[in-house]
Symmetry: none
Subunit: 286 residues, 2 copies
């Protein structure tokens, strides 16, 4: 009973719908509120409370949260639509991506912030799919002079309206990840050269980088082939975990950003492969 090693065994078998049943209800309410708001452009607290059969207080707390996310503007007595188009169409319920986004959010956010600072000087930035790269993209909205290339429609949508120009690869859209892939998409990016590529992985061992999806690995390899600086984002839960497909050996990358010191074996392998290992400092909670 004195196990100090807390491996996340319990999280693997836990069904996600049990875990956030309340969350989903609140999430539904938020979606409903936004839908009401879009009908007429404004919304009173009392009307929303009556419509959703909850108390005024609950609506107010919802509005506070939604305002923090930039999805509406709160005014006395209710709320009006946000001036800028936030991320509009992309807020559909996406169980797998959203739940992954919630898992280990703080480490990922720390890695994302560090990676964003690192690439801010580059002009052409290639961005892979994944939750960590998605969080990173939020930091790139105001980046001047940058062109962002990605096969993630989520990242494209997030950066829409921001400063950098965005280019997406064309091709079949994968349902869960909202990423494009296939020969056409890869061929499109094979013709380009990126100053820097940012890749997400699902596992890393001394043998290299791993991913669980066939569809995305080819694109990841293309990013690695066609870019100058190759950055991998990998939170510490992924150390020593293999997945279906090996993307590349460690020697193919330049920088690895993570949130905690890796196991000695991996640290040694990274050093042997001349990979620049960077530990992102934890973010101060706001």
């Amino acid at each position: 009973m004195a196990d100090d090693t807390a491996l996340p065994e319990t999280s693997t078998h836990g069904a996600p719908r049990d875990a956030d049943r309340q969350r989903l209800l609140a999430h539904d309410r938020h979606a409903h509120i936004l839908a009401l708001l879009r009908r007429t452009g404004s919304l009173t607290v009392a009307a929303a409370a009556a419509e959703l059969a909850v108390s005024d207080m609950t609506i107010r707390r919802d509005l506070v949260e939604l305002e923090r996310e930039g999805r509406l503007v709160r005014i006395h007595g209710g709320a009006i639509e946000a001036d800028n188009p936030p991320l509009v169409a992309m807020d559909s319920e996406e169980p797998s991506f959203d739940s992954r986004l919630r898992q280990r959010r703080d480490p990922k956010a720390a890695i994302a912030a560090a990676a964003a600072a690192l690439v801010s000087g580059y002009r052409t930035i290639a961005m892979d799919v994944g939750t960590t790269t998605y969080l990173m993209a939020e930091h790139l909205k105001d980046l001047p002079h940058a062109k962002v290339f990605t096969n993630s429609l989520r990242i494209a949508a997030l950066l829409n309206g921001g400063v950098p120009e965005v280019y997406v690869a064309g091709g079949r859209v994968r349902a869960d990840e909202m990423s494009t892939g296939g020969p056409t998409a890869i061929a499109q990016f094979e013709a380009l050269w990126f100053d820097v590529a940012v890749i997400g992985v699902s596992g890393i061992t001394v043998d290299g980088l791993f991913d669980y999806s066939f569809d995305d690995t080819d694109m990841k390899r293309a990013y690695l082939r066609r870019s100058g600086t190759k950055i991998v984002l990998c939170d510490s839960a992924k150390f020593l975990r293999m997945s279906l497909v090996r993307i590349a050996p460690l020697s193919d990358i330049d920088i690895l950003i993570t949130d905690a010191e890796p196991p000695a074996k991996i640290a040694a392998a990274l050093a042997a492969a001349k990979v620049d290992l960077r530990i992102a400092p934890p973010l101060t909670r706001d």
Copy 2:
């Protein structure tokens, strides 16, 4: 619905009367005042107070605030329009996707539903950008055996997780519209053949179809070139309105779906061009 769950205190009966006094947000009142002002160019305090069912003092305070924002000029007894266009800078730009989505929503929804029914038998469906096509895509979520091709990331995101396979064209992402374009994107779709293409326009005259934006017209032409059946969606507000770019003559299309009988001139031109004109029936309100 006479069953009040736990709110006996509040005397708000469910009758959504329009004359709800305190229910109107200050923000909405301001918008209403500005609308009244634009109608005739001037406005008396008494008239506004009567129209909005509030006291004179409230109107005066509103006018003070609106004058501070530069949106009108206060005079003795009321207000007149501001000389210079203060916020018009935002409005004079092409309207945002969200605001266009709100404009004429019901006609667009009717057209979208009719178009969705029309294409449900086809296997490969090309979909243009625009609010009407976006509304139409909502109906395609459950379409079996269909492949949808689009340069709208909004539509791709909307259909994500639905039944049909989605393919997007790759290229530079236009802000707000979230559409891809440019030679790469067009070249990608030039290599394909679609059973049916659904195009949105911003104006239609006897001379043909028109659109706001340079960026999108080339893609629209590609859709028309590379598809068997060519459908145009056009709500009745767009009749006899020209825009920046002419996309194509009327003879290039097969079916036009709109929400009301077009002017005689256009009806004649459509008949001469052998275009199948269809009036979408209004939707029954849910």
